[in-house]
């Protein structure tokens, strides 16, 4: 099979499973639907890994090229400007293919056990397939409009899955919020596309990047001179596109939907709101990275600060939350902040492009350990029937495998060697250190906080007091093997993913990048992470009143962080007030 055919098949399998299960699943295939979805994903995952192998290892040339494997014109707007559907193969898209299909496969398998007995089982799997299809379409997009289309589809499948328990008003509210907030961000994305398309007279990624990065090309000159409110058209275009990315990736201040999105089934949170969809924003910036980096460093600086602020902001909030899924949601936001600012501090080409590699590396490793954390949390929630930390404790005995895998994931996210997160985080910190000391110190601080809140979570679930498990159905205990196997596989990923020499494969310009491992640079982050863990051990390993005392002594800060810095309230204030005025206007004009 040619590369194009393989990748088409990778996409068509989930699409087919979506259509099949969506149309016939409920009535005819109810019991089979899980197997259908999982099998199609299994094939997709195998094909993705094979594609990655082919692309990365059977490549003889010096660098990895962007290959347009397949392309068709979908809708022509005017001469040269059209929406194309196609497959763009380059290091980041191939890497994302693997990440998406593998994590999705794990979630599919896990859901076989987790969602068992659910009345709308077939619908659940059809939505999962729809999501996987859309996400895959997003990562292989050849055209900026193609990415936008799949972007919207990803958004709607996220909406459908968050609102899966549609009889719960909170789930409906959360799904609406997620869709509307990201839709608002996508408005920026859309206008950004209009601007970039207008300036470059094309929507095709390869041509677009070429035209907007060639020094003194007529397109670039006109794009950088035309100005509005002091910024050039190019800057506006990129910033607006980034706004879309920030919305999807839950960057400050568009993050408010992510914690609420945890209303969805836990495996969905693992797939969509931790490992894949939320990194779409990072992917988008990475996709347009040459333009950001070469032609518009100002916009890249915005990316950097957004990332830094989000990383720190979310980490602080995560320390105060009591719902374990919300803690994980904020930690996701924080880690994505890392990826964002890693792109922000990066340059283009060679060693300067370390940040780019580091960002993609972190995206890769994060997918494993974050999915693992969510699936582990899912197992715990399944057992305890609660999301609240106060209902948990001492579970290490009753759930040994969940305990071990969760611990591995915590160590990985905290950045302890030799787990995956250590390597990617270390690269990000090195890149930040070279570029901007301020960012570096904030990132270090965040790393410490991350270690602290992750182990706060770990200890309160698995140590501390014994949880009162009042089960009538004690039989399931930790869950069946179908739930444990994905945990084990993902934990293998969380341990080993860090040893991949990532720079050899993924770099800003496609050339191999050899990243020397500097022990000296790694010492400080590790010390900080360990002290974060130590602090958490002191506070949370055994039940004591130290955390409460601390919270009481810093009451102001604690409260503010607990209420997520009142961002949601600010939004509410703005939208409600506007609503009121609009009401009046509409009443005057209507009828």
């Amino acid at each position: 099979m040619s590369l194009a055919n393989t990748i088409q098949l990778i996409l068509l399998l989930p699409l087919g499973s979506f259509l099949l299960l969506g149309i016939f699943g409920r009535k005819y295939l109810s019991s089979l639907s899980g197997m259908i979805g999982t099998t199609s994903l299994l094939v997709s995952a195998i094909l993705s890994i094979q594609t990655a192998f082919q692309y990365f290892f059977l490549n003889v040339s010096e660098s990895f090229e962007k290959i347009v494997a397949w392309k068709m014109t979908w809708l022509t707007f005017s001469e040269g400007v059209s929406i194309d559907m196609g497959i763009l193969v380059d290091p980041i898209s191939v890497m994302m293919l693997v990440v998406v299909t593998v994590v999705s496969l794990m979630v599919h398998v896990y859901s076989l056990g987790y969602m068992k007995g659910e009345e709308r089982f077939a619908t659940y799997y059809s939505f999962l397939s729809l999501f996987t299809f859309s996400m895959l379409g997003l990562v292989i997009a050849v055209n900026i409009f193609q990415i936008y289309m799949f972007w919207e589809l990803v958004g709607v499948s996220s909406f459908l899955l968050i609102g899966f328990y549609f009889e719960k008003p909170s789930a409906v509210a959360a799904s609406k919020k997620a869709f509307i907030v990201t839709r608002f961000a996508d408005l920026g994305f859309l206008i950004g596309i209009l601007i970039l398309g207008f300036e470059a007279k094309t929507l095709d990624f390869v041509t677009l990047i070429e035209r907007l990065t060639t020094y003194n090309s007529s397109y670039l000159v006109s794009a950088t001179t035309a100005s509005f409110l002091g910024a050039s058209a190019l800057t506006w275009g990129l910033l607006l596109v980034f706004m879309g990315g920030a919305g999807k990736s839950a960057m400050f201040p568009l993050h408010i939907w992510l914690p609420d999105a945890m209303e969805g089934p836990t495996p969905v949170s693992a797939l969509i709101h931790a490992a894949t969809m939320v990194v779409a924003g990072v992917f988008l910036v990475a996709r347009l990275f040459p333009i950001f980096s070469i032609s518009c460093p100002g916009a890249l600086e915005v990316v950097m600060w957004t990332g830094v602020i989000s990383a720190l902001f979310a980490a602080i909030i995560a320390c105060t939350q009591t719902d374990i899924k919300r803690v994980l949601a904020y930690s996701t936001m924080s880690q994505i902040g890392y990826m964002m600012f890693a792109l922000g501090v990066s340059g283009y080409g060679n060693e300067v492009g370390l940040g780019f590699t580091a960002s993609m590396f972190h995206l890769f490793t994060h997918a494993f350990f974050k999915a693992l954390l969510f699936l582990g949390a899912g197992a715990v929630i399944h057992y305890i029937h609660s999301n609240e930390m106060k209902d948990m404790g001492g579970l290490r005995k009753s759930m040994p495998i969940t305990h071990i895998t969760f611990l591995i994931a915590c160590l990985a996210i905290a950045g302890i060697p030799p787990f995956a997160g250590f390597f990617s985080k270390e690269e990000i910190l090195t890149a930040a250190h070279h570029a901007n000391p301020m960012v570096y110190y904030i990132a270090l601080l965040t790393a410490g906080i991350t270690a602290f809140y992750m182990f706060r979570l770990y200890y309160t679930i698995f140590w501390s007091k014994e949880a009162k498990v009042s089960h009538h159905d004690d039989h399931h205990g930790e869950g069946t093997w179908i739930i444990k196997i994905p945990l084990l596989i993902l934990s293998v990923g969380a341990i080993t993913a860090g040893f991949i020499p990532f720079g050899t494969f993924v770099s800003s310009d496609g050339h191999h990048l050899h990243i020397p491992f500097a022990l000296s640079a790694a010492i400080l982050p590790v010390i900080i992470a360990v002290s974060g863990i130590a602090l958490a051990t002191l506070f949370y390993k055994n039940q004591n009143d130290r955390p409460d005392k601390l919270a009481a002594s810093f009451q102001g800060i604690y409260k503010t962080a607990y209420h997520k810095f009142y961002i949601a309230e600010i939004y509410l204030f703005i939208t409600k007030k506007n609503n009121l005025q609009l009401n009046c206007t509409t009443l005057c004009l209507g009828r």
Partner: protein, 500 residues
């Protein structure tokens, strides 16, 4: 292909209906008639594409002309291009679906189906006419049944709505007629003779002064049909009071007569004036888009929600036309088709819900997905289409309009485009609000638990419309190929500007 068939078939069906009394017989005839229309329109599409493939590049294909009233130069001239073919196709879809959802119309069923089919005859006649007088004639044929359909079979304040609609549309017709007369008297085909012939007028250039007077008149006239702000006020009341099928016809077909007229008659025949008035059109269209969207947010009745959202969506049609460039106009045509299908589907879903729950108030509905999964899914899908989700037709049309309108670097146009883009966020808000409350969430009324899901006729109507939406949404290239060459043809005229 003989285009007259498109008018003859519905007229014969309508006459046949008059001979029967029973609902069962009447609806069967109506269904057969609708299927014949549908087949004819598919055949038309087919032979039109074949004709174009053979290299027939005439602006109007299947041209024929019958003398009607020679002293005044009125002829029954017909012909189609890609734009009218797609409109005819749209009408056929909506008519068939409309007949299917009215399957259980017990009250005066003979008259109901008669008017319904008559309305469709008017629409087809309108789309094939190449003579301004005939065009006007068919426009009127399409107006009168609406008044009766709402007044007799409607719900709520139906008399008020019927009267409002009829008066406003009559005013619109009067404007249209005035505009057409203006065009008529500006022509000269020798010996001081005038003509209503569309092609003849398009070849001469109408004097600028005439254009400047009669363009706004004709545009407003057609604009009233197409929900041009501030003449849109008939839309919400009319749509909401009408019975389901009539709502579908109103929004799916009638409003398109307006958009089509604005493009084909006003803009195409008087292009120089169109350039002069373009900023005003854009201003009004943008207001309609934004105002319609926000007004929808305030609605509590599902039909009002869809009606106001129609105002917003039809604003895109006028916006595209006002932009006067190829991409935007193609987008406007696509939006007409997309909106026709989508809104018909939406009204159909609302009608199905109303028939079962006897309420359309969002507050009194909830959790319908549990009891009627099919109808609820259709509701959600039409909502998603309305908010411009890729994979459905709305996305294609809206994006084409946006791409087209962004081509103008002037600040007014940019702001108009950005505001129109912003409306898609507002659309998401009201659609999700409505769906989140009525379709999702807990069941609010215990009695709803016993409701049944869609019947075969409702399912087929929904699937029919949905297939149109999805085909356009997934493979827009064929529609683009159908209409683009002819939009291109229109541009030869429209591209004429006032000054070199």
């Amino acid at each position: 292909m003989n285009l007259h068939l498109l008018v003859i078939a519905p007229v014969l069906t309508a006459i046949a209906i008059l001979f029967f009394n029973q609902l069962k017989q009447v609806r069967l005839i109506a269904l057969c008639g609708a299927i014949i229309q549908f087949t004819l329109s598919i055949l038309l599409l087919n032979s039109f594409c074949a004709e174009r493939a053979l290299g027939n590049n005439a602006p109007m294909v299947f041209y024929s002309s019958l003398e009607w009233f020679t002293p005044l130069g009125i002829a029954f001239t017909t012909g189609v291009d890609g734009i009218s073919v797609s409109m005819i196709l749209l009408s056929a879809f909506v008519v068939l679906a409309g007949v299917l959802v009215s399957w259980k119309m017990e009250k005066m069923s003979r008259e109901f189906f008669f008017l319904l089919i008559l309305l469709s005859a008017g629409a087809y006649g309108f789309f094939i006419s190449l003579d301004l007088f005939t065009l006007f004639f068919f426009l009127e044929v399409a107006v009168i049944p609406k008044f009766l359909l709402i007044g007799i079979w409607g719900s709520g304040k139906k008399e008020y709505s019927a009267m409002k609609l009829a008066l406003m549309l009559m005013a619109g017709s009067a404007f249209v007629f005035l505009g057409l007369l203006g065009l008529y008297f500006s022509t000269n085909i020798g010996n001081g003779q005038h003509t209503f012939d569309f092609i003849a007028i398009s070849r001469t250039s109408v004097p600028l002064n005439t254009q400047l007077i009669f363009f706004p008149i004709a545009f407003i006239g057609f604009g009233i049909f197409g929900a041009l702000f501030p003449f849109h006020t008939w839309v919400p009341d009319g749509h909401s009071s009408a019975p389901t099928a009539a709502s579908m016809f109103l929004a799916g077909i009638s409003m398109k007569l307006g958009g089509y007229g604005c493009l084909r008659v006003a803009t195409y025949l008087m292009p120089e004036a169109a350039h002069v008035y373009a900023p005003y059109i854009i201003l009004l269209a943008t207001i309609a888009i934004i105002y319609g969207a926000f007004a929808t947010m305030m609605q509590t009745d599902l039909k009002y929600i869809n009606a106001y959202s129609s105002v917003s969506h039809c604003g895109f049609v006028l916006l595209g036309i006002g932009m006067l460039n190829e991409t935007a106009i193609a987008g406007a045509v696509m939006q007409m088709i997309s909106h026709g299908l989508m809104t018909a589907l939406f009204f159909a879903a609302i009608g199905m819900i109303y028939e079962r729950t006897h309420t359309r108030l969002v507050a009194q509905l909830g959790g319908l997905l549990k009891v009627m999964p099919f109808i609820s899914t259709i509701f959600i899908i039409s909502g998603l289409c309305s908010l411009g989700l890729p994979g459905f037709s709305g996305f294609v049309a809206e994006m084409t309009v946006f791409m087209g309108s962004w081509q103008h670097p002037e600040m007014l146009y940019r702001i108009a485009t950005i505001l129109s883009c912003a409306s898609i966020v507002v659309t998401a808000v009201y659609i999700l609000r409505a769906a989140g409350k009525s379709i999702m969430g807990p069941i609010v009324n215990e009695q709803h638990l016993t409701l049944s899901d869609a019947t075969w006729n409702e399912k087929s109507a929904a699937v029919l419309l949905l297939s149109g939406i999805v085909v356009i949404g997934i493979a827009p290239f064929w529609l683009n190929e159908l209409i683009s060459p002819d939009v291109n043809g229109l541009m030869i005229n429209i591209g004429r500007t006032l000054l070199p």
